[in-house]
Symmetry: C2
Subunit: 330 residues, 2 copies
């Protein structure tokens, strides 16, 4: 077991103020290509594994039976910010299934999107489950559940949907799941090694769409995410902005507690990283740096520059701190 | 230089998900009593040193000349949440000086207080500088500046006010400042060792109010913070809730990037801690644990329980994770 290594630092007035350590793995066609920290670190992928959790939706035929488009599939892999776009689309998705927001099991929270948040506050409406950043995933879950004619409590660990997700997870990571926890949206989240997660992302990156059902599902989900970045997160967010900056050639996804994954089809690479302390500012900076280092993200692109090296400006526009890569990270 | 040590961890499904390392020092009458990690670590105290930054306000006679009460002084040491209480009091303070919000140099940001935030959104008002969490400190700054008949740009490093703060800082920490950075509110923030900060807090804890001007200023500021916890942060916040839980006997203050200090008069102790990665959830849990370990905070008090060991519940009330102390920390 190797220790996490320094990846991202906050500097202020010429002095190191805070430091983030992490683990990361790049997996290629022949296996592990590069690693930082401990590649065998057991992690919870949290929302970074939503494309794995969406595999049964496509593979079971549920997506096709429900007439889902690639925009729906992108939303099923999303941690969206509950903007009008996301709320309308999840609402219509459920209505088309003859279901409603009450059939979801994700809970409600204030949307991250400020326009929608302010609209709710002004109108006196309460946020509903459609505003939950995981509501797209849960729409996918109920779609699959209905197709499987399974019961409504689809977040329970022994529900047929969760069994199918566990099986897909084990097949694609090449390892037995190391346990599970309950995610913020009430769904089980299977623990796995970081290298298992990177290996799974590599499988997505190598899918051509011309193979078996698993291959076609992985290819379609990757394309859906990369083609519709605004569905996967939202305006201003790292996943959306960086996928656009990479010209829709790479699919990336963040997860709570500072997980980030990338699927790089043109190089048949999968990447997984976890910042040990759970800091999202660090995972965003680290994945930006790794993608730039691999040559798939232009480090001069404004959306890359926004994240690394990132000047911290205060409310009066003064430069206060700077987020930097740790020496020796790349 | 010693490495930071594990202090606080997030567990989920029986597995360690994220870990926070930190440094801490407890300083007593005879010097350092206990330390974790590197006591000589150079840190930016950020807002945790607001009571030091308020020393010139009291020592210069500016507070007395302006007729400031202990509630004003508590507010001058605050990182408040911009609730109606804080906005009204800072607004009146400035008006009493014949000044206005435009004389502040802290910048505006959306208040953390949701009642005031929602009111602004509903009325279409924009947040002003009074909503800035540092506006109380800046009211103190302009009060001192006016008393010193100094110029209006009081956040500049060579302004007489900042020179006075630097001098007080060096005297009370017993060390030359290790440089400075610009804080989020545009004021200089002097770098110091963690032990220097703990030593300064010990000086505050030992002040009796019966000594020289410095002693009286330290005693009054400590009493102001502990007596008016709602001015120092706000409802729901760690500083406010924990000072109430300790029956107003201890003054505590958080700072950005996971700094926390405590002044414990009944034991003549000063405490300073810094989580290396800058995580506020960890600094709150760690200071809660240290105060409980010292016997000045009842670990069974609901406000302590809220922070450690803290169950993480999701929007549907399900237990998802748990914040725990690292083994060997206490």
């Amino acid at each position: 077991m190797r220790n996490p290594q320094p990846m991202v630092e906050l500097w202020r007035g010429g002095l190191l103020e805070s430091q983030h350590l992490g683990h990361a793995v790049i997996w290629g066609e022949g296996g592990m290509i590069r690693s930082w920290g401990d590649p065998e670190k057991i992690i919870f992928p949290r929302s970074s594994c939503k494309m794995i959790q969406a595999l049964p939706l496509v593979e079971s035929g549920a997506a096709e039976a429900a007439g889902l488009t690639d925009r729906h599939l992108a939303l099923s892999c999303a941690s969206h910010q509950g903007s009008e776009l996301h709320v309308e689309m999840t609402g219509r998705w459920l209505a088309d299934l003859g279901l409603s927001e009450r059939d979801l099991r994700c809970g409600a929270h204030e949307p991250y999107d400020h326009i929608e948040r302010d609209r709710l506050i002004r109108s006196g409406e309460k946020p509903c489950q459609l505003h939950n950043n995981c509501s797209g995933k849960h729409c996918g879950f109920v779609t699959t559940t209905r197709h499987l004619k399974a019961g409504p409590e689809y977040t329970e660990i022994d529900h047929p949907l969760q069994k199918a997700i566990r099986q897909a997870t084990e097949e694609i990571t090449g390892e037995t799941v190391a346990g599970y926890g309950i995610d913020g949206c009430s769904a089980p989240n299977f623990a796995m090694s970081l290298s298992g997660l990177a290996r799974a992302m590599q499988a997505f990156s190598a899918a051509t769409g011309a193979g078996d059902g698993r291959d076609r599902a992985m290819h379609r989900l990757t394309r859906a995410m990369a083609d519709y970045p605004e569905m996967v997160a939202g305006e201003g967010r790292a996943c959306t902005e960086l996928m656009r900056a990479m010209d829709h050639k790479v699919a990336i996804k963040t997860g709570a507690e500072a997980v980030f994954v990338a699927i790089v089809p043109e190089k048949k690479l999968g990447i997984a990283l976890k910042i040990a302390d759970g800091s999202g500012r660090a995972s965003e900076a680290a994945i930006t740096a790794i993608l730039a280092d691999l040559g798939v993200l232009d480090p001069k692109h404004p959306m890359a520059q926004k994240r690394l090296p990132a000047e911290q400006l205060n409310r009066r526009g003064l430069r206060t701190g700077e987020l930097r890569l740790s020496e020796g990270f790349l």
